[in-house]
């Protein structure tokens, strides 16, 4: 049984069809990537899966439980946390307070200190700046904070929407290394990326999204070798 199973998902913005019935699955322990150009429907997929955008048809199943109609704020309690596109850290709150919000869904507050230590060890930069207001962090630091904030909720499935967007090449490498290590620690990862090369390299499997449809799928290696993918996403 797949951890996350999306079936024939359709999303409309008014009369415009953004997702034309897409299906994919994420198995426990995997890193799965959705790649695609701007406007292909990647972010729509991510937001629709967690209920931020309502779907018109299709189903989303998490650990065998139908969550298609579950309100967004309850999804995180089930073990699925998303780092949204553009990071969206709480600009007016400090780094520490952002991490506190990340743990909002955690009922057992005794694990909070441990979790905090874990995040500070994983992202030393956040420890250095724990009392700084998040809006004053650099883009890379904000991405670390957004990831740390999401990890505070102990997700079984971590969804990352364009984590490398707007970062310098050095930071992009760092972000992908962190994703790999998060996955190694036992968290399943669903990744959406425009940086197809880097994301396919760390992915177990991947799907190619074009105009609201999945046009290709396979292991990361298969897709990297595919002529179509090379032409469209890997610059040659």
């Amino acid at each position: 049984m797949a951890l996350l199973e999306v079936k024939d998902l359709e999303v409309y913005y008014g009369v415009i069809c953004a997702l034309k019935g897409i299906s994919f699955e994420v198995n426990e322990g995997e890193i799965v990537t959705l790649i695609g150009a701007n406007g292909a429907g990647k972010t729509t997929t991510m937001q629709s899966v967690v209920g931020l955008i309502p779907s018109k048809a299709g189903s989303v199943t998490f650990e065998g439980k139908d969550i298609t109609k579950t309100p967004c704020h309850k999804i995180v309690h089930l073990g699925m946390t998303q780092v949204p596109e553009g990071r969206r850290v709480f600009q007016e709150l400090s780094v520490y307070e952002n991490l506190l919000m990340g743990a909002y869904s955690v009922k057992n507050s005794s694990s909070f200190k441990e979790d905090l230590e874990r995040i500070y060890t994983q992202f030393p930069r956040l420890a250095e700046r724990k009392n700084q207001i998040a809006g004053t962090l650099s883009g890379g630091e904000q991405q670390m904070l957004a990831m740390g904030r999401a990890l505070m909720s102990h997700p079984k499935l971590l969804m990352l929407d364009e984590p490398s967007m707007g970062l310098s090449p050095l930071l992009v490498d760092q972000v992908f290394d962190i994703i790999k290590s998060i996955n190694k620690d036992g968290t399943t990862v669903l990744l959406v990326e425009q940086n197809a090369g880097k994301s396919l390299a760390i992915s177990d499997r991947a799907y190619v999204l074009e105009n609201g449809k999945i046009v290709l799928s396979g292991t990361g290696e298969e897709l990297m070798a595919s002529e179509d993918v090379k032409k469209a996403y890997l610059g040659g």
């Binding site: 967690v50 931020l52 704020h73 553009g86 969206r88 709480f90 709150l93 919000m101 909002y104």
Partner: protein, 290 residues
């Protein structure tokens, strides 16, 4: 001496405005709507005080009854009138709020009639210090307001719910992704705002015992102005704006030549501040996210 007396009077009026402005600004910040029925919640609180005072004669019981009733009223208004419009155009919400305002005023008129009621909360007399003479009710108003504002600030800064309020006001989607129930936070916001309105109603009746169904109308508009002057959405802004409005009002009323123009002066301040700093004194420019 006269200066100090006028200043204390201004601070007292201003802290009443601040109580009301907090309700406007918190609801705006978190629910992203202007609740123009907020002033009328004060009026309903006033009638609750009137009813309990008539029955039991105890102003403190009256205040508690008003707080409870206004809190429930605020929650009900939000559930019945505004929640179904979540995601609707802001104009629809605005019109609904204005309609709710008239509904409350008309219902009060139907139940209690249009003749003003006299509600003598209590006569505390004046505090005399040398040549200084200050009505005690102004000190009660000021003292209570300061305590309430400190508690509210600590609540927002240091509690889980308070921080969730900041998170929702800043980015509703990201807050939901953290597992924050936005509807629940909006309900709490309306409850707090309405409870503060009950305090404001109590303060206003201490100052002037005349109660009618339009009790909250003018103070509501002035407190809304105060919230905009301070920076709508900002809690410290509402406090600063409210106090500023009150102090200006007191000094303007004190000078016979300008006293008749007091309301105009207050609204001119709004215009000037909007021209100089459109976000208000403590308002922040928020980049719209795409």
């Amino acid at each position: 001496m006269e200066f100090i007396e006028t200043l204390i009077s201004g601070l007292s009026i201003g802290s009443t405005y601040a109580m009301i402005a907090l309700g406007y600004t918190m609801v705006y910040g978190i629910a992203k709507m202007l609740n123009f029925a907020h002033g009328d919640v004060i009026m309903v609180g006033g009638y609750m005080i009137f009813l309990t005072m008539t029955a039991l004669g105890n102003p403190v019981v009256g205040l508690v009854a008003a707080i409870i009733f206004c809190t429930l009223l605020g929650i009900t208004i939000e559930k019945v009138a505004y929640k179904p419009l979540r995601g609707a155009s802001p104009l629809a919400v605005l019109i609904t709020a204005i309609g709710m305002s008239y509904l409350l005023q008309s219902m009060a008129q139907m139940i209690f009639g249009s003749a003003p009621k006299m509600v003598i909360v209590a006569d505390f007399g004046n505090l005399k210090l040398g040549s200084l003479s200050v009505p005690v009710y102004t000190l009660i108003t000021l003292g209570c307001s300061v305590v309430i504002m400190v508690i509210l600030s600590l609540f927002v800064k240091y509690t889980k719910v308070g921080r969730a309020m900041i998170a929702v006001s800043e980015d509703r989607g990201a807050a939901q992704l953290m597992g924050i129930n936005v509807n629940g936070i909006i309900t709490i916001t309306f409850a707090i705002g309405s409870a503060l309105a009950a305090f404001a109603g109590f303060f206003m009746l201490m100052k002037s015992p005349s109660l009618s169904n339009t009790l909250g109308a003018m103070p509501g508009i002035k407190a809304f102005t105060a919230a905009v002057i301070g920076g709508i959405g900002s809690i410290p802004g509402a406090m600063v704006g409210g106090i500023l409005m009150g102090v200006v009002e007191a000094f303007s009323l004190h000078v016979p030549a300008v006293a008749p123009y007091t309301d105009a002066i207050e609204f001119i301040i709004l215009i000037v501040i909007l021209l100089v700093k459109p976000t208000g004194i403590l308002g922040k420019v928020r980049r719209e996210k795409v």
